[in-house]
Symmetry: D2
Subunit: 318 residues, 4 copies
């Protein structure tokens, strides 16, 4: 929501008294201004979680004292960043601020930390198959400015969405995944993702299982959309399963892909009401709306640095 | 919703042309007036389902032609019913009309049929344990006129809700269910339900499994509320399961009890959103609201003759 | 949902005994097979509403007795329709069946009737302005087969969406609506819609008020999406109004356009939860999702013949 | 959610750099441990809002370093509080800690502050009329432990709920409000509320307008439930208004009562879907469920110190 130049840190680790004060003071003493801070404690496990977003000194410096306006701060930030890039040795640039904070959080507080800069635009690759609804939905939202990222490529195991991708001006890579050359296909995908410098992979109804080896090798998060209310109806053809069981609600689940299929940390879920009048085809149609909105919301939260994974669960600072 | 004296039939059987016309004509030719009729076809299975509600001749006769008002019809119905009870041999009373329709539907149409008269008040027995939220909720709704039934007794395997039942003026029967005397307890329950002439048993968080033998012997429907979004988290402690998995929605499911635990035909389901901030205790608290509203809705639909069971699924004419 | 060749009638008029039977018998006697029938009575006003969908004889004739399958019926329908087209004088074609039913319903039952044939594809024109989210959403759903219609043209008062329309292969007409030439613009629009033989106009965030004269002259339904939960926040800038009032839910309303702005019969509404964290821009963004889904659902229901207007309200047979 | 002995502060005032750090440091330096802290900035208005909950020194002192358990802290708190009560002059008790923090927040930070101690049990008075659903709902939730408060009395302008109140062991005061003695009735109510030392008044479908004078004199918050989705259908008989307009959703709104009827700051809202099948009576019935859940949620949030009023809006830290 903020248009300011900010840093966002996601922290977690063993709880100890004074964590909020120490983080806030560290930022304040270096001239930063905290815009949002949200904490959570898992009482059972004794773990502290925090999301904190702040303007580092180089950005805050140019704002009016006391009441910065979005526009003023935005302009100031650009100007000062330019200066900072020319200056030498003074740790006022974004990269340095991020590095310093990480060192502090890890060494002094013993926390695991992930840092995002609002000026960075993560590079996202969409994996698709034949179904096009999530693909169109994500690309149109991105073009409307909903996502703070660059969609740099579309990878399909079928060629069907190639011309649609071209229509949006997006590079499309067709990498078939045949039963007997899955390993080769994954190798090709990994090479491509490395070339593209992907920061995030989103499976927009990709419908293929990624191997544990692929995920380990890849090293960046993968978000998947499963077309059921997990853990109900895991596995294949969930709408057929739901119809057979006679449930009154269908759902969709966005989660991080892990080596255990359909078992990864859940980011977001939603449901829609159905009746006996809906056949499997209707479920599929209604489900498309769920899949679109749930996947888009999960991707947005991830890009805004609102999702913190620990164990097999997520903390979503929404 | 109707305050008129009506009959409601729930029909299902093999589809054949002309079913709607034949049912409607049968009613019309006997002076009845259809108030609601709703059909459904399961295309795959070739099964026809219908719910039809009508005023039989004895009730419709007393209304103004063309535009019956609720009040007029209600008064007329009482007066004419009185007459009908005194008359002899003329098939204008409710019981005869119901019997005639059933014969027609079964013999001429080959349909399975269930009939309800709006003037009948089914006799309902609530089974409870220690948790009181569904118990209070159902009794208060009943006292507010939401349910067209008589709650004739409360049966508890623990004595905890005895005084609350007494406060509502409801008989309470304490039948302990200890591991080593479950069969004896069920025998006692069956005898009691027979004495009470129960038409419906509602398990208001009863927390005990009913044996297949008990259900077969009982011969009337049993509605249960399960505190999860079935089929997810079947079995015990579903809120603990949900918390451990990290789902973002919790649910409740009202279903008919069958010999397969948690597998009976689902009547109604609903969900509520949760976050990482909610611990198991919060889930239990939020779940109580779901359990209350889902069970009340299922019981209401059942009593209004809106739920038709076939196979392991329901058709709900809402 | 049905892929059979069917007719759907929407009827309403003064209630009278036997309406269900007479409609069903008329269809049955002519060899038709009722697939769905749904009635409603407005008790206060004494008005009867019905939606009935059936296979006329020409389609039903080719099906297996007792248990028609979708595929078989579909193939049969095509074959028999071909025969029917070659036959002479026999009133077994769709147009004749529709005309006969209308005559019956109006003359014999005194009902107002609207008829749709499932094989007809109504011609739809979308009116747009600059915002593109509803435009893309409706066109993509249409391409996915969600709507039984032809989108024949896009009309914009701004040229912005011209190239997007071209990308979808859809004709785009730019008709500017300047304050001093609104009457001229409406005249131009009317001529165009007549040329296009439009059956339905959908205002996909068109943002211009249509004059009473335009609507009267047009003679086909116009569906509009208003970006608030009407009647709250009628008029301009509803998200600003909602933000100023501090409501906790925002909404969207699809309604038929009438001469009274924002007062037409409501077809569908939905809401989304917001918090103090959302500024007006967030409301606009979240609102886009509501607007898309609510308008698409309303358009779909209209095209399936599920919406019956009477007075300033709708009956939606969903 | 916390069972620890805590203080919760709700702060708001002009934004300035370092507020988070200064608040957190103040607490940390005095041996307190922050459990939750949530900030919000109104960018347009330049206002900072914070909710912070912490264990003051006297409670935190007894916990194990690093990983306090709920039980241990609870026991420690009791023990230490006992000691604190015996000690003299040392500002380690709750009242002193609260007073010190308030002074700091007001003098040093220029913030408006409201403080709650988790061990305090605010004294709540319910105002009722004839409708009993919200009354039963709130009392049963309170008895189930959902609300951290004491319900000390029921005040009715009709005697109807007197015996139900007695059944719960709650004092009932019947103060009739006749058109010609409204001022006298309000005077009587004020005297009673002063005697009862009420901290909060909840209008559980009280259905009477409170005068501006009454509210000013009273000096404690009043929460009302309005049976519509405000601002739609303000004023009387909202369900009749909703039915007449033909909306597809009905709602309920919990808000603080102010001198402008139905215009007070909104705390919570929810909606339920309705169709043409629902008459006004059905709307009333369905509305009862909304009213109960929305009012209970608003009351709970208020009691947990989650609601901060500014201008005519609320910030709800949920």
């Amino acid at each position: 929501m903020s248009k300011l130049s900010t840093l966002t840190a996601l922290l977690h680790g063993p709880d100890q008294p004074g964590l909020v004060a120490r983080v806030a003071s560290w930022i304040f003493e270096r001239g930063g201004n905290i815009l949002h801070a949200d904490q959570h404690r898992d009482m059972e496990a004794g773990i502290f979680f925090q999301r904190v977003e702040w303007q580092p000194a180089f950005a805050a410096a140019g704002t009016e004292p006391g009441r910065p306006t979005t526009e003023a701060a935005g302009r100031a930030s650009v100007a000062i960043q330019a200066m900072a890039d020319q200056s030498q040795g003074r740790p006022i640039d974004r990269v340095a601020a991020a590095r310093d904070f990480s060192t502090f959080a890890q060494s002094s507080l013993g926390m695991t930390v992930r840092l995002l800069a609002s000026d960075d635009r993560p590079r996202v690759v969409l994996f698709v198959s034949k179904a096009d609804h999530c693909f169109h939905d994500l690309v149109l939202r991105w073009k409307a400015g909903d996502f703070s990222c660059e969609i740099v490529a579309i990878v399909g195991n079928h060629p069907d969405l190639g011309s649609a991708a071209a229509g949006y001006g997006l590079p499309f890579f067709h990498i078939p995944v045949l039963p007997d050359r899955k390993a080769a296909a994954e190798k090709e995908q990994l090479a491509l993702l490395r070339d593209l410098r992907a920061d995030l992979v989103v499976l927009a109804r990709y419908m293929q299982v990624l191997s544990a080896g692929f995920l380990a090798e890849l090293g960046v998060p993968v978000i998947n959309i499963h077309h059921s209310f997990l853990p109900a109806f895991a596995g294949g053809r969930p709408y057929h399963q739901a119809h057979a069981r006679g449930v009154k609600l269908i759902g969709a689940t966005a989660h991080y892909a892990t080596r255990d299929l359909d078992e990864g940390p859940i980011i977001h879920q939603d449901v829609a009401r159905i009746t006996h009048r809906h056949d499997v085809e209707d479920l599929v149609r209604k489900g498309r709306d769920l899949e679109k909105s749930v996947l888009a919301q999960a991707m947005r939260w991830h890009l805004e640095g609102r999702v913190l994974v620990y164990g097999n669960k997520t903390v979503v600072f929404d």
